[in-house]
Amino acid sequence: MSDRILTMSRAGREALDWEMERRPEIFCMGEDVFKFGGIFGTMDGFGAKYGPERVISTPISETGFIGMAVGAAMAGMHPVVDLAYIDFIGVCYNVLLNTASKTHYMSGGAVKVPMTLLIGTGGGYNNAAQHSQCLHATVAHIPGAKVVYPSNAYDAKGMLHTALRDENFVIFLTHKGTAGVGWMGTPIRTTLSEVPIEPYTVPFGKVRICRAGTDVTITGLGMSVHEALKAADALEKDGISAEVVDLRSLSPLDRDGILESVAKTGRLVVTDEDYLSFGVSGEVIATVVERDLSALRKPPIRVTTPDIPIPFSRPLEQAILPLAGRIAEAARRLMA
C-alpha cells in the first residue's frame, strides 16, 4: 500500500485509531477531548466515532482524572490521557511522580499501570512563561515512567503504537511546534514524513540519526531536532558536516547511540529547548564523557533555553530560544 506524507498529528491519530478499533481496553480522557480531539488532534473525530464512554471530556481537575486513569489502568484498562500543555503538570505532578510511575515497583510487580499520557511541550509562539515550557527533564527524572518524544510523523505513529502496547506508564511528549496543527501555523517540513498505512512500532530507547555527518554531532529532541537540521543545512554551506541525532526517547535513553555518533565526529553540540541546568543537556554530556573521555576533541557546547522563565515579548523570546543560528554558531566554534 502506498505511503502518504502526514503531519505528526495525523500520524499519531492513525496509531491511536487503529489500536482503539481493536482493543476495548483503550479509552481517552482529558479536557475537551470529546469535542476538540485533544491538543494535537490525536483524538480528532473520536468523539463521534467512539462515543462519550470511550472519549471522556473531563472537568479541569487534572489530579482527579489522571489519578482516575491510574486506577482504570490498575483495573485492566489502557487509558490515553491528554494533558494539553506540560506547564500544567504542576497541578497533578503527584500522580505522575508517586502514583503512575511507582505503583508497579511498590507492588513488587503485582500491579501494572499501562497508560499513555500525551503532553505538549514548548514555546516559540509568544505564549509566555506559563504556556511555553518544555520541562521534559522534570518528567524524565521520574523513575518508573517511560518518556518518549517523537519529532516527526513516522516516529509519532510508530512510537504511539509502541506506547499503546507497553504495559507501563508512558509519557508521550510532542512539541507543539512540530505537531502540524493549524494554530501553530504550517507544519515544519522536516516533521513531515512518509507514513505507512499499516501499523508498525518504533522501539523506545534508540536514537535516530536524522542526518549523517562527520565533523560534529548535534543532539536534539522535539523541536530542537528541526533547529539542528536547519543549522546543519547552513553548516553544509560552510563545508561543515553535521550529524543530527534525535534522542527521541529520554527514558530509556540510548546512551550507546549518543556515544557512537560522538566517537565518530569528536565534537558535540547539545541542543535543548528545556532550561539549561539539571536537565537533558547535562545528562547527554555526562553520558559521553563518563563512557569515553577521549571521544571529545573539543569541549562540548550546550545550546539551550537559559535558566529563565520564558518571556512573552517576541524579541525577548527569540533571544533565548535555542534556534538554528545559535546552534550553527556553536558548531562553527567547535570547528575553529
Binding site: K35, T58, P59, Y125, N127, A128, M184, P311, R314, P315
Partner: protein, 329 residues
C-alpha cells in the same frame, strides 16, 4: 457607598464600554498577520488571547464595591477586571503588545497583568490565583491593615483542587476573601453541566462555612449589590463569600475558537446593549450621553493603543533581567 446612584451606574457603563473597547481593539489587532493562515505566534499581538467580551458587568460591578486597599487576583481572562480596577490602560495595552513600557516590560503578556499600584495581579494556570488572594488577605490581617482580597476565577476553575483547599482555609480562618466565580457556562468547549456535579458553585459555600451568593442577570447593578454585601461581611470579620455570577463569553474561549460546539439555545446575550437600554429607560442617561460615554471610551482606548504601538520593544538582552530580585535592572 452601597447605594445604586446614577453616577455609579453611569460609571458602570463607562467602565464596561472601556473594557469592550479594549477587547475590540485587541481583537482587531490580533488578526493582523494571522490571515489567511491562522497561527498563534504571528502578527503584532501573538500568543493566546482570551477576551472578556460579555463579562464586563462582572468587572464593573465587583470592582466598584472595592476600595483601593483591596486586592485582586484574576485569571487567564483578566481584561475586564483590570480595566474596571483602573489598571494603567496605556501600560496594559503596551504589555499585550510585548513592549518595553508595558506593565511587565513585555515579559508578561495578556495573561500576566501585574499592577501593584492598584493591587492587581493575574496569571494563567487555572485556579492559581486563589491561594495568593487568600494569602494577601492573611498578610493584611498580620499587618493589621484593612483589605479584602478578591479572586476572580471561572466556573471551570471551581473544579480544580485549589478551590477546595483555599475555600476551606478561608472558612476556617474567617479570612476576608471573596471568590468570584464567573460562570460563563463554558470552560473551553466543556459546558458547566458537563463539568460540575451541582448547578451552582455558590451552593458549595456551605462546605466551607463561607457565605454563598448567586446573581443570574449579568447586570452590573445586581452584581454590585451582591459584591457590596460580600465586602461588608468580609470587612465585618464575618468571613468569605463564594459569589457566583452568571456572565457571558461572547468571543469564544480564545481568538480562533469557532464555538461550533455551542448549540443554538445556548447562544449568549451581549449585556452591554441591555444595560444601555436599562439606564436610558431608568432615566440615568440619554441615548446621546450613552453614546458619548462610549465614544470617549473608544477614544481613550485608541490613544492607549497608539501608545502601545508607538512604544519600543525591549532590548533582547533584557530577557535576562528580573529572574531574581536584587540582581539585574
Amino acid at each position: 457607598m452601597s447605594e445604586l446612584t446614577d453616577e455609579l451606574r453611569r460609571g458602570f457603563w463607562e467602565v464596561m464600554t472601556l473594557s469592550r473597547a479594549f477587547d475590540d481593539a485587541m481583537i482587531a489587532l490580533y488578526w493582523e498577520g494571522k490571515l489567511p493562515i491562522f497561527q498563534f505566534g504571528a502578527g503584532p499581538l501573538p500568543g493566546e488571547l482570551h477576551c472578556s467580551n460579555g463579562a464586563e458587568p462582572v468587572g464593573a460591578g465587583v470592582c466598584a464595591a472595592l476600595s483601593p486597599d483591596d486586592m485582586i487576583t484574576a485569571d487567564h481572562r483578566p481584561h475586564h477586571v483590570a480595566v474596571a480596577r483602573g489598571v494603567d490602560l496605556n501600560r496594559m495595552a503596551a504589555e499585550l503588545l510585548g513592549k518595553k513600557p508595558g506593565l511587565s516590560q513585555g515579559k508578561g503578556g495578556h495573561m500576566h497583568i501585574y499592577d501593584p499600584a492598584v493591587n492587581f495581579a493575574s496569571s494563567g494556570i487555572i485556579a492559581e490565583g486563589l491561594g495568593p488572594a487568600a494569602g494577601m488577605a492573611l498578610a493584611r490581617r498580620l499587618q493589621k491593615r484593612p483589605g479584602v482580597a478578591v479572586a476572580f476565577i471561572g466556573e471551570g476553575a471551581a473544579n480544580q483542587g485549589a478551590f477546595h483547599e483555599v475555600c476551606n482555609m478561608v472558612g476556617l480562618w474567617k479570612l476576608p476573601v471573596i471568590v468570584v466565580v464567573q460562570d460563563n457556562e463554558w470552560g473551553v468547549s466543556t459546558a458547566k453541566s458537563e463539568s460540575t456535579a451541582v448547578e451552582r458553585n455558590a451552593d458549595r459555600a456551605s462546605a466551607y462555612a463561607m457565605a454563598g451568593e448567586w446573581v443570574g442577570t449579568n447586570d452590573p447593578d445586581d452584581i454590585y449589590l451582591a459584591a457590596v454585601r460580600a465586602v461588608a461581611r468580609a470587612r465585618a470579620g464575618e468571613g468569605g463569600t463564594i459569589l457566583e455570577l452568571k456572565t457571558a463569553r461572547l468571543t469564544g474561549h480564545f481568538m480562533g475558537d469557532q464555538q461550533a460546539y455551542i448549540p443554538e439555545q445556548m447562544k449568549q446575550v451581549d449585556p452591554l446593549p441591555l444595560y444601555r437600554a436599562k439606564l436610558i429607560r431608568d432615566g440615568v442617561m440619554t441615548a446621546e450621553e450613552a453614546d458619548a460615554i462610549e465614544a470617549r471610551a473608544k477614544e481613550r482606548m485608541a490613544r492607549a493603543m497608539q501608545f502601545a504601538k508607538d512604544a519600543p520593544y525591549p532590548d533582547p538582552r533584557e530577557a535576562f533581567d528580573h529572574v531574581f530580585a536584587g540582581e539585574a535592572a
